[in-house]
């Protein structure tokens, strides 16, 4: 009886496994996934305008709320513009390889760690939406423009901020040097005995 029980369970398990398997023929070759071609991507995305006097940023967003999607696409386009004007990139790569042991006991250890950070911060004055379009998949696409004149103002303000920061740092270092000098001078000053008189 135990044997027939085992047989039944094995057969049913096999049926379950076969029945729930994908209907794709096993012999079918593993085909590369076909690239998704969006035929209604706006022309300004595929062929961005080329104008020396204007800087462009493109943003897109697909959300269930089309109003929020449009605003998000605009915000992303502005961030793209800001990144063109000012971006600070920080990166750290740790590549660690260790080999220990001899012969069959040889062990290799490899560890790679990559950390990156990209910061953008800019005050955009005069950025404007020049084109927008919603594609069939409900994605909003936005083309944002900033005139070269307004872009120069942004860069100038960034340079000015940097110069101010440099000046503040120089002032801080100068104060620090003066404080240190005072400290040394105080230490070197001979103690005056007020009771000597």
């Amino acid at each position: 009886v135990k044997k027939s029980w085992f047989l039944i369970v094995a057969v049913v398990a096999a049926v379950l496994a076969v029945g729930c398997a994908s209907s794709t023929p096993a012999a079918a070759p593993a085909a590369e996934p076909a690239p998704v071609v969006q035929d209604d991507v706006p022309d300004f995305v595929l062929n961005p305008p080329n104008n020396e006097d204007v800087i462009y940023g493109i943003g897109s967003a697909q959300l269930s709320n089309s109003q929020l999607a449009m605003r998000t696409a605009e915000a992303r386009a502005r961030r793209s513009l800001a990144q063109t004007l000012r971006v600070s990139v920080q990166g750290m790569l740790i590549d660690y390889t260790e080999s220990a042991g001899v012969g069959d006991d040889l062990t290799n250890t490899q560890f790679v760690q990559d950390v990156g950070r990209q910061l953008t911060d800019a005050n955009l004055i005069g950025s404007k939406v020049v084109k927008r379009q919603q594609t069939k998949d409900k994605t909003w696409w936005v083309l944002m423009a900033l005139s070269a004149k307004d872009a120069k103002n942004v860069v100038d303000s960034v340079i000015s901020e940097q110069q101010k920061a440099n000046a503040r740092y120089a002032e801080y270092k100068a104060n620090e040097a003066v404080n240190k000098m005072d400290q040394y001078l105080n230490q070197a000053k001979p103690e005056v005995d007020n009771n000597s008189n």
């Binding site: 049926v15 379950l16 998000t72 005050n123 955009l124 939406v129």
Partner: protein, 285 residues
């Protein structure tokens, strides 16, 4: 006994292989029953009638043309009064309107790790609305439209600082060009387009689109944009991991003088409303 066991596993097999109901079928969007506004008598004074999809509010003879909206009330007159109040609020915005907008978007590696938040704030109207309403030129017979549980009024508002703007549209048979290609300025005034997706009541869609135009112009005066993208990846002998975290914020605060709506268009397909507006002066705060 054996037969029972086989039947048990067979039923298990059938349950396991039955398809689960499609979530997309459950969340199919409901068809909205928003009615496209019919012809609204625009310019009761000059007799022109414009297709309802377009609400042309170009100034007439130096007077401002303002459309106010409200929900329907038990008494028609109460609805008209509420719509007139909305028109008066917009008239007060012509003198000055201030507001701020802050957008935050955070994207992480997790499947639910996405936050998108927009905070908008309009400064409250301080002007007394009653004298403004009394100065409106308004014909209750011609300048009222009731549609889809909303009521709209159209008023003429004489103002000492008129706008020198010409009528900008010719064709009324198609979507206006400014919807997808917003003009940065019109007749020297800064311009922008506001958009709102359909609300339950159509007048709320129009109001949201109107306010969207205010924030769109404020955003052009100056917007602080910040982005912070962090990536992390490691690859040990067996395990590897990758993570990305992105936070983007943009903040803008400003004041507009002479904010004025030139045209409003309702998309017949999506029922979204677009508002084309200008401002005489726009300044960041």
């Amino acid at each position: 006994m054996v037969r029972n066991t086989v039947l048990f596993f067979l039923s298990l097999f059938l349950i396991a292989c039955s398809s689960t109901p499609s979530l997309t079928a459950i969340f199919q969007p409901q068809q909205t029953s928003v009615v496209t506004p019919a012809d609204i008598p625009v310019g009761g004074s000059d007799g022109t009638v414009v297709k309802g999809d377009f609400w042309d509010t170009t100034p007439l003879d130096g007077d401002l043309i303002i459309i106010g909206g409200a929900g329907q009330y038990m008494k028609r007159q109460d609805g008209i009064n509420a719509a007139l109040q909305d028109a008066a609020r917009k008239a007060a915005f012509y003198d000055s309107v201030g507001g701020s907008i802050q957008e935050t978007e955070r994207v992480g590696s997790g499947i639910f790790d996405y936050v998108n938040k927009v905070d908008t704030q309009l400064n409250p109207v301080e002007a007394d609305l009653l004298p403004i309403i009394e100065s409106f030129q308004f014909d209750p017979e011609q300048d009222v439209l009731e549609v889809d549980w909303s009521i709209f009024v159209r008023v003429r508002y004489p103002h000492s600082i008129p706008l020198a703007v010409k009528r900008i549209h010719v064709s009324r048979d198609a979507r206006p060009d400014w919807v997808l290609s917003p003009p940065g300025e019109i007749n020297g005034y800064p311009a922008a387009v506001g958009f709102a997706n359909p609300r339950e009541k159509v007048h709320n869609t129009y109001i949201a689109s109107y306010e969207g135009a205010i924030f769109a112009i404020i955003s052009t005066t100056g917007i602080q944009v910040r982005g912070d993208t962090s990536t992390y990846g490691d690859n040990q002998s067996i395990f590897s991991s990758f993570g990305m975290d992105e936070i983007g914020t943009s903040m803008s605060k400003g004041t507009l003088k002479g904010f004025y709506v030139l045209d409003t268009w309702l998309d017949p397909e999506t029922k979204g409303v677009y508002t084309l507006a200008i401002a005489r002066e726009a300044a960041a705060q």
